[in-house]
Every structure is written in C-alpha cells, then in structure tokens.
C-alpha cells in the first residue's frame, strides 16, 4: 500500500523522566494505594466475628501499622521529590508545576480547549504536543502536592499524640489549630478523596494521550523515554522548558 495521505513522522527519542522520578512515581503510587486502602479500613473496619481471643489477633493494629509505615515512606518520598525539583532535569523542575508566568496560564487554557473541549480550528483538529508535562498537568500535580501537604500536616498531627519521635511532634499544633482531633480527622478523610479522583483521571488521561498522540505516553513512566515528532522537537528547541504552542 502506497503512502498517499500520510505524513510519516520521524521521531526523536527524548529522555523525559529520569530514574529517580520514575522510582518516586511508582513508590508514590504504591504507598498511596496502601494508604487509601488501610485508611478506608481504619475509618470503617469490617465486622469480624470470631471465637478467638483478642490476644490472638491484631487486625486493626496491622492496618494502622501499614498506614503509618506507608505514611513515613510517602513523606520522605515527597521530600525527595521536592529536592529533585531543584536538581533534576528540566522536565522535573519545580517551574513545570508552579505557575510563574502568564505563558503558563495561556498554555493551560490552550490545553483546556484542545484536550478537554476538543475544539477545532477552521474545521481541523488541533494538537497540543508538549514534551514533558503540559501546563495543565503540571498545575494539577502542583495541586496534588498541596493535597500531600494537607495529608502530611493532618496525618502527622493526628499521629503526634501517639508517637514519641520529634518529627510527628512537629505537627502537634495542627489539631490544636483545627480545634481538636475530631475535625482534623475529618479533613484528613475528605482530602483522601482528592487522591482517588486524581488517580482515576490521571490514569484515564495517560491512556487518552497515548491513544490520540501515539508517542509512548504510557510507557514513558517505565523506561523514561518519550518519542517526540521531529517538528515538535525542533520547534521546542529554543524555548524549552515550558514550551507553548501557538
């Protein structure tokens, strides 16, 4: 079959996600799943009927133990990611997440029009082909970092009364600020739903981009590579990071 209508793209392999970023991503995914599952269990444990003595089981204890252990992993992983935002490559940099320019917001608006509303221009489909995160994604990740902070502050705040270590005790002012553990716990529980909704949308959008753009979006978090059209690559050359398509 001859190529009559197709413009075959030449692709450039770009190392987008460095190994530390990928490790951070998957560890984060793992501990978040653990935290959500155990968190749900802690908030509403199953009704277990047993003839055994309480001394023989430690179910709630284990769920809480896993929750706390995962929370520590999550916390240090998060700290590491903040550090990597300063020393990692351009796609991992903090400025990919925190809007500091008008251009950032313009790009978000572009992404909204093209990927969410799927608006066409002169009857033609449009693309917004970014190399790392697009501005919208970056900003949403910034929101997740804020949600991380909320969970860290409320979580360690609740934990402080049980822990002897100075680290969680740094957060003991949080429940006092919220007027007690009860409301702090409620905030901690509400904020968890943000993670669930985020995860669902995040996974969907990864599939969406892979499907519509065909440049290895899904596998990029495995090997770190994305396959960028040469045209896009060249266009971005002078102005990476934070490219904007006009």
């Amino acid at each position: 079959m001859a190529s009559k209508l197709l413009h075959i793209q030449r692709l450039r392999r770009v190392y987008v996600w460095e190994l530390p970023v990928r490790l951070y991503h998957w560890l984060n995914a793992l501990v978040l799943v653990a935290l959500i599952v155990t968190g749900f269990y802690i908030s509403n444990p199953l009704a277990i009927q047993t003839q055994r003595d309480a001394s023989n089981s430690y179910i709630m204890g284990w769920f809480r133990y896993i929750h706390f252990a995962a929370a520590y992993l999550f916390f240090f992983n998060f700290l590491f990611r903040i550090y990597w935002g300063f020393v990692g490559n351009k796609f991992a940099n903090w400025n990919q997440f925190i809007p500091t320019s008008k251009r950032f917001f313009q790009e978000m608006w572009t992404v909204f029009k093209i990927d969410i509303l799927m608006l066409k221009k002169n009857g033609k489909e449009q693309h917004h082909l970014s190399i790392g995160h697009n501005a919208m994604a970056g900003f949403i990740y910034f929101l997740t970092f804020i949600a991380f902070l909320v969970q860290v502050f409320t979580g360690f705040g609740l934990y402080a009364a049980m822990g002897g270590w100075w680290l969680p005790n740094l957060f003991s002012w949080v429940p006092a600020m919220f007027g007690g553990d009860a409301f702090t716990r409620v905030v901690h529980h509400w904020a968890m739903w943000f993670f669930i909704l985020f995860a669902v949308i995040h996974v969907y959008l990864v599939f969406y981009h892979d499907y519509v753009e065909g440049r290895g979006e899904i596998s990029s978090m495995g090997g770190g590579w994305k396959f960028i059209e040469e045209e896009v690559f060249d266009k971005n050359k002078p102005q990476t990071p934070n490219p904007e398509k006009k």
């Binding site: 079959m1 190529s3 209508l5 197709l6 413009h7 075959i8 793209q9 908030s43 509403n44 444990p45 199953l46 009704a47 277990i48 009927q49 047993t50 309480a54 001394s55 023989n56 089981s57 430690y58 179910i59 709630m60 204890g61 769920f63 969410i116 799927m118 066409k120 033609k124 489909e125 693309h127 009364a161 049980m162 003991s172 002012w173 006092a176 007027g179 007690g180 553990d181 009860a182 409301f183 716990r185 409620v186 529980h189 509400w190 739903w193 669930i196 909704l197 669902v200 949308i201 969907y204 969406y208 499907y211 519509v212 753009e213 065909g214």
Partner: protein
Amino acid sequence: MDNEMLEVKQPTYYEEVIRKGYNRRDFMKFASMMTAFIGLEKSSIGQVAKAMETKPRIPIIWLHFQECTCCSESFIRSSHPMVADILLDMVSLDYTETLMAASGIQAEQSLKNTMTKYKGEYILCVEGSVPLAADGVYCMIGGKTSMQILDEAAAGAKAVIAWGSCASNGCVQSAKPNPTQATPIHKIIKGKPIIKVPGCPPIGEVMAGVIVHLLTFGTIPELDRIGRPKAFYSKRVHDTCYRRPYFDAGLFVETFDDESARKGYCLYKVGCKGPTTYNACGVMKWNGGTSYPIQSGHGCIGCSEENYWDNGRLYDRASAFAGFGIESDADSIGKIALGATAVAIAGHAVATNFGKKNSIHDLENEGKESEHELPS
C-alpha cells in the same frame, strides 16, 4: 458586716479539715490521693500535705453563666468527701451563686468585697460560656450582663479557671447556629493565665486536682497547646481504654444489641469518640472510680472536645459533610464525585473518538502502513 467577716484571718486547709472533724489520717489519705491525681511522685505527698497545712486558702470567685451547673455537681460529688467539704465549702465562702448562703444584694456585696480585698490574688473560676449576641442580654445576673461581670471579675484575678466545656470551648449552646453567640472564656479574657478544664462535666477529681496544684505550687499546672492541664488531658480516652485490645484486634460492636456488644468489644464502629478525645475518664473514671461511659457499654461522645456537638453524629464514625445536609458524609459525597468523574471520563472517551477522529485515524494508518511495508 460582710466586711468584718472577711477581715478574719484565713484558716489553712488543714485547720479547716480538723475543724470539720476529720483526723490527721483522713487528711493524709486525701493528700496522697490528690498527689496521685495531679500526676506527682509519691515523694511529693509531703509537699502537698505541707502546702495544705501552712498556706491559707486561695480566695476563689466562682461565676456561673450559660451552663447547667453539672461542673459544680461533679465537683461536690468527687469520690473523696473532703473534696466537697473542704475545697468547695471554702470556695463558696467567697462567691458562687449556686451554693452560697447569701443572696441578692448581699451576694453582690460579697463578690465586690472579695474582688477588692484580694485584688490580684483570687482565682476566678468560670462555669459556663458568655453570650455576646444582642449585647449579652441572654445571660444577666443582678442587672449586669455576664460579659460585664466577667470583665470586672477577671481584671483583678490571679488566674482564670474555665470549668467545663462551656467555659473552655462553648459546648452545646455554641453549636450551630449558636443564636446567643455563646463564647468560651479564652476568647474574651486576654492577658490572664487561663486553665481550661473541659468536659461535660469535667471529672470532679480533676477539678480538685487543679485547685490542689494551684495551692501546692502557687502556679498554674503545665498546660498543653489548647490550655488544658497536661496531667489530665494529654492522653486520649482511647489510649487508656480497657477495651483497647479489642480495637487493636479488630473486634467491634456493630449494634448495641449484638453478640459483640455482650462480649464487650470495642465501640469504635458505633461512634465512640475515644480516639479523638483527650481526657482522663479511662483512668480516673467516674463516681469514685466506679465506671465511665465505655465501661457501661456506651461510646464516648467526646464531651470535652471543642465543637463535639457539630463534629459528627454521636453513634457514627462518619461526620457530616458541611453544606451537603446532615445525612451526607465524606464517603457518600466522595462516591457521588467518583461516579460523576466516571461519567465524565466515559463521555470524554466517547467524544474523543469523534473530536479526534482524524488524529486517531492518521496514527492508525501510519502504524498499519508501516506494518504493511514489512515483508510477511
């Protein structure tokens, strides 16, 4: 006449004990008990006893505002009779509406005398919250609003004790929509040390312990961030609960009449607020160490915690989601949001196949063409 009475040299607590007919042994028992309650070592018993033997009683003004007097009730029912006999009898010498003999003008006079005579020395105990709405007319005593009375009494006080949840955090009358704008003491009085002793009511022995601490050391006890004495409020009811092993084991009461309830399992799932409530109920218990709510099969309602009335349902772990009605908790809202997200995603996925039809087509053709170019 009132003045003359106040001129008399104040007796020490010990003198008062002996006068009331207790013997030295009873006194030492009381001192030992109080030492333990305020969290001191055995070696401090002597210090406590000595303070009660030598120091004159602390002048105390005890004000009642928006409250039910359950704090006073709890206090006079402390397990040790001396608590009531000695501490309260002497306390009431100065001013407390509920228990003082004087009434009307004489009562007001007594309050005034104490305030002038012991300026800067007396302890102001406040039971109840202060309504601020409508210039405070919702609680008036002797023609003055509680706000005015509190301001006047606090001005010359050495320290303020906020008895109970009303004075510490507003309790039930400050629940939404709080029509009288019931306000706890610490939001009104600034610049005085305030000891919060929350609970509805607080445990009588805790109340006595706070007073004994003040007497023994002449200072306010060590307070936590919220302003509660650490000796009584640093642990959660959950941490000292005798049903805690059932919690850790994951064995819970589902309804109040099930087999698990009969076995005495943990009341977490029927709304026990022990895990979020800082109080000494699990250790000191009530009515002379007889029992406490969880021991009698009912979960803790968290009465000593701020805003406990609005912080969720009494018999449910989940708490109402503000703005979505009483019956909706975080999880039901979350499930709705999740459902809406799923619908939106499905919609977007379907729309993608139309809106991005050409792009998808091109990619498919490109891929297929490459495949065809290869030999089989």
